[in-house]
């Protein structure tokens, strides 16, 4: 099937087998391997990308479902004003092996937008807007992105710094 994807503000026309996932379109057909395949089942979050501004698991979407959509991957983050988040991940050591990192970064950006729009989470004290970006909110909302190296303290500190969290979350959290 012929489709067009707008990826990191560049248009790509592709002729794809309808079975190709959005993730495999990026990795196998466009050489954009920054987006990772950890489980291919929507269980780990390593493939998280932003589609029309919202975070999704690219492994759970067929590429042909996204004809004409605007997609941002880790390769395009620097141009979208997220370089401060990338720098914060480095400064707080928010990764070790780095394989989940592209997904963590895209997920964090999508998550912060959800908070800005007033979406509540399981740990929000009320369903009314607007949730406050606390450590617990970050941890809850980022729990779809597994990190087996377990850099959650660094990830949360980086997101907290970038997102302007209500309470300080440092990667060396005082007990």
């Amino acid at each position: 099937m012929l489709i067009t994807l707008d990826i990191n503000r560049a248009r790509h026309s592709l002729d794809l087998d309808p079975r190709v996932t959005l993730l495999d379109a990026l990795r196998h057909h466009l050489g954009l391997t920054g987006t990772k395949k950890g489980c291919d089942h929507g269980q780990c979050g390593a493939c998280t990308v932003l589609v029309n501004g919202r975070r999704i698991n690219a492994c759970l979407a067929l590429a042909v479902m996204h004809d004409g959509d605007q997609i941002i991957t880790v390769e395009g983050l620097e141009e979208t004003g997220a370089s401060a988040l990338q720098k914060a991940f480095i400064a707080h050591d928010g990764f070790q092996c780095g394989y989940c990192t592209p997904g963590q970064l895209c997920s964090a950006l999508g998550m912060l937008e959800e908070v800005r729009q007033g979406w509540p989470s399981h740990v929000s004290p009320s369903l009314e807007p607007h949730p406050v970006l606390t450590r617990a909110e970050i941890a809850e909302r980022m729990s779809g992105n597994l990190c087996r190296c377990a850099c959650y303290p660094g990830i949360n500190a980086a997101i907290s710094e970038f997102g302007g969290a209500a309470e300080g979350t440092t990667s060396e959290d005082a007990a």
């Binding site: 087998d17 079975r19 190709v20 495999d24 990795r27 196998h28 050489g31 954009l32 391997t33 920054g34 987006t35 990772k36 395949k37 950890g38 489980c39 291919d40 089942h41 269980q43 780990c44 991957t73 880790v74 390769e75 983050l77 620097e78 990338q86 991940f89 480095i90 050591d93 990764f95 070790q96 092996c97 780095g98 394989y99 989940c100 990192t101 592209p102 970064l105 617990a136 970050i138 941890a139 809850e140 980022m142 729990s143 779809g144 992105n145 597994l146 990190c147 087996r148 190296c149 377990a150 850099c151 959650y152 303290p153 660094g154 990830i155 949360n156 060396e172 959290d173 005082a174 007990a175």
Partner: protein, 724 residues
């Protein structure tokens, strides 16, 4: 030139002479910018032109295998090959094997084994054919249940433990059961293979390239010098990538047959079966103590399992041999031979589950004696190795416990359980000691010094451990160069053989090889300056001798210099017991209604020699502590009792800790230099932090609500039974 050192005794600490101020300083990873922009290249990436895709086919049960519809699959649209090559491997190689594991996919040793590879023009076509494969299994599957086996091995006895148990004031005799556990690294095992004439290059996700090269060459029946392995970035290992795995061998075979590159990635559900699991264990622990809590006898006997012919016997009692003093002892493992997925090394094999169970039993002894759990441990620290009388190279358990206790706020704790309640939640705290053996293997490294800076090269890997960072720091420190003038190249068997990443020996072994290569360069620089190496001071790209200052660039105008370092472990590993020590503290909340456990905070206090980089070392400790939370509360592979297949073989059903499961973590490093650990005096940190971490959580559960959970993980149902 090469500086070669065998660690035969205590080393001299030359770090204070160095002036650049990099070692011991929190330094961000030089590979960070690549990792946060998606430019770091992992195994199944940067595919060569015309690359075909392969998907492995699994055996549904152990036995003799027939692929009934191979011809039909071969005719599928896009399918290039249905590969059932006798050289394909049945098992993933054990760490350090250096030779092929069992080959021949006509037999499945366990359910889930790879028995064929479908190669197609596209991943989708290969996957479709693999899913359509009809695999028929016949014959005897062999024994599945470890409890039904007649186990091999006999624990080692000293003195008379039975008498000690009869005569002691206080005794504990308990059995802990731990399930099989998965490494579950985020990057699935993957390989891309391409041939140029008789030479094959494979980019794969591997920890120990030197050994993996030998293993792959043996599998393919070709000399090692025709195999080149690349692993510049590895998406987590935790032991699972120590040995060559089925997808790499299959990719190389298929690429040879088809004459074009082939990429094979294990599907996540295959990773759970094909990658070596941590063996389940059945641990009987006996403790006999006098009224003051001093151990008279100690028993730690473990039953583990593995396939016939595998030499990995999960060394559950490895630390119990030296952790605590007691004259009467029975310590060791037995192994049941079963047709289950291969057991092998998973982060801190042995101590991860062995120390954790033993430290739970120590907490039971603390309860039985009414002695504070920290005091009880301090009273039982041995002066020398309790089994063989050898001295310890350095022993900081006391400091780890007391410094950790002070930072956690342990003093004044009421030892009685069920004392603190907040709404439906019982609140409690727990402590456990951490022990892990330390070793040093063999590594070589090369540093080329030019007017552009230093290039450090070794086939060592960085599996997230921070190798790029620490080797940059070590070379920069010794050569007086800032980090941006040092480049580290790793993960290529064309480079000098490093130690590989495993057993927490990577930083010490390869780090010392880089250190020696830098000392070699210092000698060459001194010779160009006409001075003694010891009089040479290098800082900020400048050489200083007495009152003379020369830019390194000027010295290198005569030509670049190359330094070689080669280190290997020697008598220092035999004459003393080298180990790392630590202490874990946890506070948990246990729901009286559901039995759910939430960890509220954890603190780890670790002594691992010189800490090269507090930033990356701390992250490794966070990892180990978090694995402890998983071990205590959520992680366990469920193996089917009929055919041994892994029932929960994905990340939805095998529960690794997620962000919300992990509370604020605090890491404290105890000041230590261990001269027996080599010139850098650094010991392994990556595994220490998992050893005993889960015990702090489990002991805190008991303190909170009075329930001892001796079959892990402590899921709500198992806690609730005790609460009722």
């Amino acid at each position: 030139m090469t500086i070669t050192l065998t660690t035969d005794g205590p080393a001299e600490d030359r770090m204070p002479e160095m002036k650049q101020g990099l070692v011991g300083v929190a330094t961000p990873r030089p590979d960070g910018p690549l990792k946060v922009t998606g430019r770091a290249v992992y195994a199944a990436e940067d595919l060569p032109e015309d690359c075909a895709f392969g998907v492995l086919v699994r055996a549904p049960a152990p036995g003799t295998i027939t692929l009934a519809n191979a011809d039909e699959l071969a005719a599928f649209d896009g399918v290039l090959s249905v590969l059932q090559d006798p050289a394909m491997i049945r098992r993933t190689a054990q760490g350090g094997a250096g030779k092929a594991p069992r080959q021949g996919p006509g037999t499945a040793d366990f359910a889930g084994q790879a028995i064929a590879l479908i190669v197609a023009e596209s991943f989708e076509a290969a996957r479709h054919a693999a899913r359509t494969a009809r695999v028929i299994v016949t014959g005897d599957p062999g024994l599945i249940d470890p409890a039904a086996a007649n186990p091999e091995g006999e624990p080692k006895a000293q003195g008379d433990l039975d008498s000690a148990m009869r005569e002691a004031e206080h005794t504990v005799d308990v059995t802990y059961r731990t399930p099989s556990m998965a490494s579950a690294a985020m990057e699935p095992h993957a390989a891309v293979a391409w041939w140029q004439g008789e030479n094959v290059t494979v980019r794969s996700s591997l920890q120990m390239l030197k050994d993996n090269r030998a293993e792959l060459a043996d599998c393919l029946g070709i000399p090692q010098d025709r195999v080149r392995l690349l692993a510049p970035f590895v998406g987590g290992g935790f032991g699972s990538k120590l040995g060559i795995a089925p997808e790499a061998v299959a990719a190389a075979l298929a690429a040879r047959r088809l004459g074009r590159p082939v990429c094979v990635v294990q599907e996540r559900r295959q990773v759970f079966e094909l990658v070596n699991r941590r063996s389940e264990s059945h641990q009987r622990i006996r403790l006999a103590a006098d009224a003051g809590g001093r151990l008279l006898g100690l028993g730690h006997e473990a039953l583990v399992s593995n396939l016939p012919g595998e030499d990995h016997i999960e060394p559950v009692t490895q630390a119990s041999r030296f952790a605590y003093a007691a004259p009467h002892r029975v310590v060791g493992e037995r192994v049941a031979r079963v047709s289950l997925p291969t057991a092998g090394s998973v982060r801190a094999p042995g101590e991860a589950i062995g120390v954790t169970a033993f430290e739970c039993a120590m907490d039971e002894l603390a309860s039985a004696t009414g002695i504070d759990p920290i005091t009880l441990r301090l009273r039982n620290i041995p002066d020398r190795h309790p089994q063989n009388g050898k001295p310890f190279s350095s022993h900081r358990l006391e400091q780890a416990l007391t410094e950790g206790a002070e930072r956690f706020g342990w003093a004044g704790r009421n030892p009685a359980p069920r004392q603190r309640r907040e709404g439906e939640w019982w609140i409690g705290t727990g402590v456990a000691a951490a022990f892990r053996v330390n070793t040093l293997t063999e590594a070589e490294a090369r540093i080329t010094l030019t007017s552009e800076g230093a290039l450090v090269e070794t086939d060592m890997t960085d599996i997230g451990t921070g190798t790029y960072a620490i080797l940059t720091q070590i070379a920069g420190e010794a050569l007086g160069l800032p980090v941006d003038l040092v480049t580290v190249r790793l993960g290529d068997t064309d480079l000098p053989p490093g130690s590989g990443s495993g057993g927490s020996f990577g930083a010490a072994t390869t780090g010392n090889a880089v250190w020696l290569a830098a000392l070699d360069l210092r000698q060459q620089l001194a010779s160009r300056l006409g001075c003694e190496e010891g009089d040479l001071s290098l800082q900020d790209g400048e050489a200083r001798v007495a009152n003379m200052r020369r830019p390194l660039v000027a010295l290198l105008n005569e030509g670049s210099l190359t330094g070689h370092g080669h280190i290997r472990g020697g008598e220092a590993l035999k004459q003393v017991r080298q180990a790392t020590y630590g202490a874990h503290f946890a506070e948990v909340a246990v729901s009286d209604v559901t039995g759910e456990v939430r960890v509220r905070r954890m603190l780890g206090s670790f002594a691992a020699g010189r800490i090269l980089n507090p930033l990356t070392a701390r992250s490794q400790c966070h990892g180990g502590m978090t694995w402890g939370i998983g071990m205590a509360l959520t992680e366990g592979m469920v193996l089917d009792r009929r055919d041994g297949h892994v029932v929960n073989r994905d990340l939805a059903e095998y529960h690794v800790p997620v962000n919300a499961d992990v509370p604020p973590l605090t890491v404290h490093f105890v000041d230590e230099r261990d001269p027996w650990a080599g010139p850098l005096m650094v010991k392994g940190i990556g595994e220490l932090a998992i050893c005993g971490a889960g015990a702090a959580v489990l002991n805190a559960i008991h303190h909170a609500c009075g329930v001892r959970v001796r079959e892990w993980p402590a899921t709500p149902d198992r806690v609730l039974v005790g609460l009722a």
